[in-house]
Amino acid sequence: MRADAARAGTRWSGATRRGALFGGLCLCCLPTLGRSAEGFDLAEVGPGIFIRRGPDAEATAENNDAIANIGFIVGDRSVLVTESGGSLADGAWLRAEIARRTDKPVSHVVLTHVHPDHCFGAAAFAEDKPVYVGHSALRPALDARGEYYRARLAEILGPEKAGRVVYPTLEVGTEAEVDLGGRILRFTAHGAAHTTCDLSMRDSASGILFPADLLFVTRIPSLDGSLNGWLMEAEKLKAMGAAKAVPGHGPTLVDLVPALDDLTRYLTTLRDETRTAIAADTPIEKAVQTVGRAERDRWALFDTYHGRNVTQAFKELEWE
């Protein structure tokens, strides 16, 4: 009965929603609840926390750049979108999924960093007039790259599906809090790491950490900020003491410490072997072929991104 209602697109009230969750039904037994027309699943990784796993793939016309882990958190009063999606189409899909589950207003949309697979869904929430939460360095990063990203995305998806640049309206310089009613989300603005504008978030109700792309799992990390900085920020994330985390890419919920250990092992290998290559006067074109090869079988899309990571690392470390 409830499944039928959901299929028909009925908006559920918060109370009905809780009834469904805690009344003996589980989402895994009701695939139609979590599955959209595109075939994506939303996993409920904590009470009122719904996350879609992005596939370890590149943006294509077929996947709408829906490749990051995106989702939403439901509070007593309102809904926070953890990541907006990789395109207007991806964001619109998420907005529809929210509407299938709750009629509470979307009060906040988090833009975790400048990369298009995380922030180009933002415009899909414009009608909700949410607070767009971002790092204080996100605006300048969008100024520098947003239009470039939009144009490239439009070439892959078509302009109507690509979306547009949306700026943060709550700019986090160090820390900030958002109260959804019954749960508080605490934001931390990080130093240059994955990018120059990484924002993480912690949910008070579940204790789950949302490090966004400061944590890659299964998909190879992509380096676009600072290698040394990322290693420092990874330590800070570990020190936050969360048991579980929703990574920016990979499974929707992981144990934080082992996942961070994997990430740190990759980044440390990248740093140490690049430094060794530089000290040995190995030219950059050789270094991209020799550094970090032991990591090859441990990450999806290694061949696509690793050489570029070495290039980034080399550029950063050769001036040390």
């Binding site: 294509t60 697979d117 490239r152 070439e155 120059t196 980034q312």
Partner: protein, 285 residues
């Protein structure tokens, strides 16, 4: 020199570069070509040849250029990992015959990337540079022998967006430490040439990178001249352009037995000028 390095040689190719369907190519971006192909990828051989003839005429006039398999070789990745930093190696085995080498990236908005003239202090066997590649393109190396003949070879490289890819930082931040230099020397065999790596801090703004705040392109600001001398000898002079990657790095070699400090003078197109001196390791045989 018959064509300014700074002047875009081909208007047509500028327009092409600005309107092409290019995949995201900047570092950290998460897209690749997928079903999209750069327009340059579909150009046929005759179009490429016509483009090269046009460039050739604008740079070298009517001087004949023979093809060569032996006097110069271009090494570059077939598919660039990072279009804004594509490592290029030029090898010139008959180094004592070589007076200089021109590097041309045919489909870049300003194709004439660099000209290097060797002086008596240089070992002309090998040069390495890092360049931006904006489109699927032929890369031409043209060597000039000491008796004034020109020889060319070419290599096809797949990359896109290297000239327009935004820097990962603000313009102000990119200008930090501008003009700083480092020089590293590889261990050399006794009596052999000394390999040197010159690094220069400079954003080398291409003029195609958009600043959304001002809604304008950051004006082109790039190193257009690097002169390297040792003692009273010229080692090399490089004329550069927007196709050179930010924070230029140039590998070259010094003739063995040279004496005196190595002096580097770099200048950019906005009257920036920087000078640094370095001491080469002395041979220890």
């Amino acid at each position: 020199m018959t064509a300014s390095l700074a002047k875009p040689v081909l208007i047509r190719s500028i327009l092409a570069a600005l309107t092409l369907t290019l995949p995201l190519a900047t570092a950290g971006a998460v897209m690749t070509a997928g079903a999209v192909h750069a327009a340059g990828a579909s150009d046929d051989e005759s179009e490429r040849l016509a483009r090269w003839k046009e460039i050739q005429t604008s740079i070298f006039g009517t001087r004949p250029i023979a093809t060569t398999d032996s006097l110069v070789k271009v090494d570059a990745p077939v598919r660039a990992l990072d279009a804004s930093l594509v490592p290029i190696t030029l090898t010139m085995p008959e180094k004592d015959r070589i007076a200089g080498v021109h590097l041309i990236i045919d489909d870049n908005p300003s194709p004439y990337a660099a000209h290097i003239a060797f002086g008596p202090g240089a070992d002309a066997g090998e040069i390495k540079l890092r360049v931006r590649v904006n489109n699927y393109t032929n890369i031409h190396a043209v060597v000039e022998t000491k008796d004034g003949q020109l020889f060319e070879t070419t290599k096809f490289v797949k990359a896109s967006g290297g000239c327009s890819a935004p820097m990962g930082m603000s313009d102000e931040e990119a200008m930090k430490g501008v003009g700083d230099m480092k020089m590293k020397f590889a261990e050399s065999q006794a009596g052999g040439p000394v390999e040197a790596t010159l690094m220069i801090r400079h954003p080398n703004f291409s003029g195609m990178q958009m600043n959304q705040v001002t809604r304008e392109y950051t004006p082109a600001r790039y190193i257009n001249k690097v002169a390297v001398t040792r003692g009273d000898q010229t080692v090399l002079t490089l004329d550069g352009d927007i196709s050179i990657a930010s924070n230029p790095v140039i590998n070259f070699a010094l003739q063995p037995g040279g004496r005196g400090p190595i002096k580097v003078t770099a200048s950019d197109n906005q009257n920036g000028r920087w000078e640094h001196s370095f001491t080469a390791p002395s041979a220890t045989n």
